[in-house]
Each structure stands twice: as structure tokens, then as C-alpha cells.
């Protein structure tokens, strides 16, 4: 029995979610191998070899693997899939894109966003945006899993010394091609990976006010900015900032909700945060029922005050 982890990387380094996925793979029992499929990705493969608990790194290198196209990466995984009892992907945009493709080609189920490994065939995963936890048993020979990073500790990134083996890269599928990307260039951490998130709601009143009030707080805390659906629907914040059932599911160390009432679908997206702070002038706001620290105050006064107090 051994497990294969598909590394999330940028060819130069390994992304953090890979480390949590290695921990989940170790919990499944057996050896853990890591596949680094990329282009000019020797540095990423070398970094993967350092992860504690990894016994082998398989490095496939080709320009067809440069941008993580689902068709090509899935084929690369399928070429070695038969050797493994478990195939694990981080539950990131990239992992979620490829994992079901692999599972379907193997004619096995896929289990999404596991948060716990109970036994090699039994896993826990949130359903209904985390409003219920399902314990599921997979009857297929190969378990294809995506791993929610917030459910597992990160494996140590250095200290290991796995062998790196080269694998032949497969030919490009010819079905899709990468045309470009726009990666947000700000220094702010990514919403789903941020340790601290400051989030604004409808009470901000306008896009200008949203920026004026929330940005200094985010800057001061080195935080990502989130928003409630109400704030997004009103046009105060971009859609990709939306935290909630139909937006991003987050679980930072600290979540500061400013002027967010706490609708069910918002709570679903952030209630696994370690510490929740709510600033709201309505004492009856449901957000206070999940907040560790509630401050009943006008956010236009309290937030600037908070910025200068930090």
C-alpha cells in the first residue's frame, strides 16, 4: 500500500498545500511518493524531496506540463496510478481541476475535501458548506482524494531526503492550450491561504468606503480582504472576495468581520476560523453568535481606532 501526492508547485518551489496533503497521505498508511509534473521544475522536485515523510519524488518535465493543463497532468498521473492505493491532491483550484479527471479514467469515485482520515478507506468531509460532516467509506480499489489544507497540519518542509526519479513526460493532448494569466500582483495574501482575513459587509455603504475603511486594517494586519455576499452584490467589493457558501470557504487564524450581519450562507464560509472578531452596531446581529470577541460599535469609528491601536 502506498500513496501518491500530486504536488502543487510553481516549478521553482512547492506550494504550502502540498505539505498538508503529505500529512493526509501519511495518515492513509504506507509509503508516500510525490509527483512533480511541470516544466523546468527540478527545483520544485528537489524541494519535494526535502519534505519529511516522503520516500520518493517522481519528476516529469515537459513544456506540455508547464501550466498544469488538466488533460496533460491527469494523463501523467494515470501513467503511474496503478502502483498506488491512494492518490491525493491538495483541494486547491489546480487539484480540484485534475483529481476528478483521474478518478473517472480509473473508474473510481473521488472523495472531495477530506478533513480527516479515519482509516485507509474511511474519511471525513464537510458537506452543505460545512454545516454537516459526513464520514464516508470508499469501496474502490484506488482512493482518489482531495485534501482540505485546513484539516491537516503541514508536514515539515525540510529534513527529509527522498530520492528523485525522472519519469518520461507524455505527449501534449492537443486539446487545450494556455493563453495567459493575470495573477493579482498585490502583496496581500490569497484569501483561502491567508492567516488573517478582514472582511467587510453591506454596512460599509459604498465601494469607496469599503476601500477606505478595510484597506488600512488589512495592511496593518498583513491580512487578505474578504466580503459578504451582500457587499459583493451591492458592488462594494469584487466577486472573488466573497466569503460564504457560494464563494470562498476560509479558515484563517483570525477573521475580523466588519459590518457583516452574519447570514447563514456567510457563516458557512468562515465559521471554521480559529478566532472570529465581529464589529457591528446591531447587538442582535447573528454574527455575534459565532464570534469569540464581539464589539458592538459603529465600524466607521471602531475600525480606524483599531488600525491605530494595532
Amino acid at each position: 500500500m502506498s500513496a501518491l501526492v500530486i504536488a502543487e508547485h510553481d516549478n521553482a518551489s512547492i506550494k504550502g498545500a502540498t505539505l498538508n496533503t503529505v500529512t493526509a497521505a501519511l495518515a492513509c498508511g504506507g509509503d508516500v511518493h510525490v509527483l512533480v509534473a511541470g516544466h523546468n521544475a527540478a527545483a520544485a522536485a528537489a524541494a519535494a524531496a526535502q519534505i519529511v515523510g516522503v520516500s520518493k519524488v517522481i519528476h516529469a518535465d515537459s513544456d506540455s506540463l508547464a501550466h498544469g493543463l488538466a488533460e496533460n497532468v491527469a494523463a501523467q498521473v494515470l501513467a503511474i496510478a496503478a502502483h498506488y492505493s491512494h492518490i491525493l491532491f491538495p483541494a486547491t483550484a489546480a487539484g480540484k481541476n485534475v483529481a476528478p479527471r483521474v478518478a473517472a479514467k480509473l473508474d473510481v469515485a473521488q472523495i472531495s475535501e477530506i478533513t480527516q482520515v479515519d482509516s485507509p478507506d474511511t474519511f471525513e468531509r464537510p458537506i452543505y458548506a460545512g454545516n454537516a460532516i459526513a464520514t464516508v467509506q470508499c469501496t474502490d480499489a484506488i482512493k482518489v482524494l482531495t485534501v482540505r489544507a485546513t484539516g491537516f497540519d503541514a508536514a515539515a518542509a525540510t529534513g527529509g531526503s527522498a530520492a528523485v526519479e525522472s519519469a518520461e513526460a507524455l505527449a501534449d493532448s492537443g486539446k487545450s492550450s494556455f493563453k495567459g494569466s493575470e495573477i493579482a500582483k498585490n502583496d496581500r495574501p490569497e484569501l483561502t491561504a491567508a492567516k488573517i482575513i478582514v472582511s467587510g459587509g453591506r454596512a460599509l455603504g459604498s465601494a469607496e468606503k469599503f476601500n477606505e475603511v478595510m484597506t488600512p486594517l488589512a495592511d496593518k494586519l498583513g491580512a487578505a480582504i474578504g466580503a459578504s455576499r451582500a457587499a459583493v452584490d451591492a458592488g462594494y467589493a469584487a466577486n472573488d472576495l466573497q466569503v460564504g457558501q457560494t464563494g470562498k470557504i476560509v479558515a484563517p487564524q483570525l477573521y475580523v468581520a466588519c459590518g457583516i450581519s452574519g447570514a447563514i450562507q456567510h457563516l458557512a464560509g468562515m465559521k471554521d476560523s480559529k478566532v472570529i472578531v465581529a464589529i457591528n452596531k446591531d447587538p442582535e446581529a447573528p454574527i455575534f453568535s459565532v464570534a469569540d470577541f464581539g464589539l458592538e460599535a459603529d465600524l466607521f469609528v471602531a475600525v480606524p481606532e483599531l488600525v491605530s491601536a494595532l
Binding site: E71, N97, S173, S181, E190, Q242, S289
Partner: protein, 251 residues
């Protein structure tokens, strides 16, 4: 070009689901059911492509219980031209791989140029069916789309990825799954609801399509998530900062 759009009937996103006391699942008896929000976006996009003259026909498909016909009528009220229900028994746990196989059978039958799916359903939160369908049909895929442009047998799709956007060019036929920013679905009007009632709706069984829908995953237990312990209210900003620094130790 035909566009196939699968739609799922799920618990309405405004409903707070309750876990059944016997731990067998969540209680969905007498709960409001609606179309999965991401699927609504998928239907809207397909209808817009037809309105632009890119597509000739939009076919909505639903797999599940007989009440999914209501979901299909909603899809047709938004503008889908006809509907297909693959009806399964109420006691069957219909899982993404099985749905993908049913859709693959319909792909073979209808030969659509494009299949647009919601990126995930808000009940099981799987985020699998589109990618599985693409794999089984052996076509290209672009998931989490925020923009779709069709020209010369290809789709240019802008995808929402972690940290930003990515643009792919994929050869048709293909699968695209929708993210929230793709469009804002139109409101369904009464005349369109009336019109939808007259549109064609075909019903198949999985056996008709030669698909085995046996579940591969067994749900052993469904439980409540760990409850958050009740917090405290703080009097002012200074106390809040003190608590965060010295009690919670998060800043």
C-alpha cells in the same frame, strides 16, 4: 451547435440544513428545494450563447428524483429549449461518477458542442461531475469559468484560479464549469414560466442509457460540525486588541 447543461435540484441556499438525530443524513423533508446556484449560471450562459447566435439549442438535463422536473422547468423558463430527466429512485444515493456516466451517454446521443456545468453543487460540495464528464467523453475541460468566448471551433475561457485568472483555449466539444463571476442569471418571468410548461421534456431511466449507477461511496454517518463555544463581547477597541494579543495570541 447544441449546448448541454446539467442542472441539479438541491436544498435552497437560504435554508440552514439540520443533521438528522440518527446520524443518517440531513433532514430534507419539507425543505425548500431549488436549482443549484452554479447551474443557474450555467443555464444563463448557455441561453446567452444561443441568443448571440453561437448556439442553436440549449438542452437542460437533470439526474435524480421525479421532482427534478421542476428544476428542468425552471431551466426552460430561463430559456433552455427542452429538458431531459434521467429519473432515479428516491432511495438511491446518486454520486458524481454515476451522474458523469449518465451525462456521457447523453453526450453520445445528443452530440453537443459544449457542455456547461456548475462547478459544484451546494449540497455535497463535490466539484467533480464536470471534470469526470470531460474525462469520460475524452474532451477538453475548462473549470471555474468567469468568461467564455466561442470562435472557430474553440472556446477561449477565462478561469478563476487561486490568486487570479488564467485564459485557456480549448477545442470543442468541451466541458466548461461555471464560477460565480460568469454572469448574473436573469429573473424568471411569469410568461416564460408558462411557456416553459409547454416545452418538451423527455424522461429516461439509467437502464435506458446502459449506465450502472451503483454508489461507490458509503456514507457511514453524518454529524453536526463541532460547535463554536460562546464568545464574549468586549467594551472597546483597546480591550479587543488586548484580547487578541494576550488571550487569543493571534496578532
Amino acid at each position: 451547435m447544441k449546448i448541454l447543461v446539467p442542472v441539479k435540484r438541491v436544498v435552497d441556499y437560504n435554508v440552514k440544513v439540520r443533521v438528522k438525530s440518527d446520524g443518517t443524513g440531513v433532514d430534507i423533508a419539507n425543505v425548500k428545494m431549488s436549482m443549484n446556484p452554479f447551474d443557474e449560471i450555467a443555464i444563463e450562459e448557455a441561453v446567452r450563447l444561443r441568443e448571440k447566435g453561437v448556439a442553436s439549442e440549449v438542452i437542460a438535463v437533470s439526474c435524480g428524483v421525479t421532482q427534478c422536473q421542476e428544476t428542468l422547468r425552471t431551466a426552460m423558463a430561463i430559456g433552455a429549449d427542452r429538458g431531459i430527466l434521467v429519473e432515479t429512485p428516491a432511495d438511491l444515493d446518486l454520486q458524481p461518477l454515476a451522474v458523469a456516466k449518465l451525462l456521457k451517454a447523453l453526450f453520445d446521443k445528443e452530440q453537443p458542442g459544449l457542455m456547461i456545468l456548475g462547478k459544484q453543487a451546494i449540497d455535497d460540495d463535490c466539484n467533480q461531475t464536470g471534470q469526470m464528464l470531460a474525462a469520460l467523453a475524452d474532451v477538453s475541460q475548462a473549470t471555474f469559468a468567469s468568461k467564455i468566448e466561442i470562435a472557430d471551433g474553440k472556446a477561449s475561457v477565462t478561469r478563476e484560479i487561486d490568486g487570479g485568472l488564467e485564459i485557456l483555449s480549448i477545442t470543442l466539444p468541451a466541458v466548461v464549469t461555471t464560477d460565480l463571476r460568469l454572469n448574473e442569471p436573469r429573473y424568471v418571468t411569469l410568461p416564460n414560466i408558462m411557456k416553459a410548461k409547454k416545452k418538451q421534456l423527455d424522461i429516461f431511466k439509467p437502464e435506458d442509457l446502459g449506465v450502472d449507477v451503483t454508489p461507490r461511496i458509503k456514507t457511514l454517518k453524518v454529524s453536526e460540525p463541532a460547535k463554536r463555544s460562546a464568545g464574549i463581547k468586549v467594551a472597546d477597541v483597546a480591550t479587543l486588541v488586548d484580547k487578541l494579543k494576550n488571550v487569543a495570541k493571534v496578532i
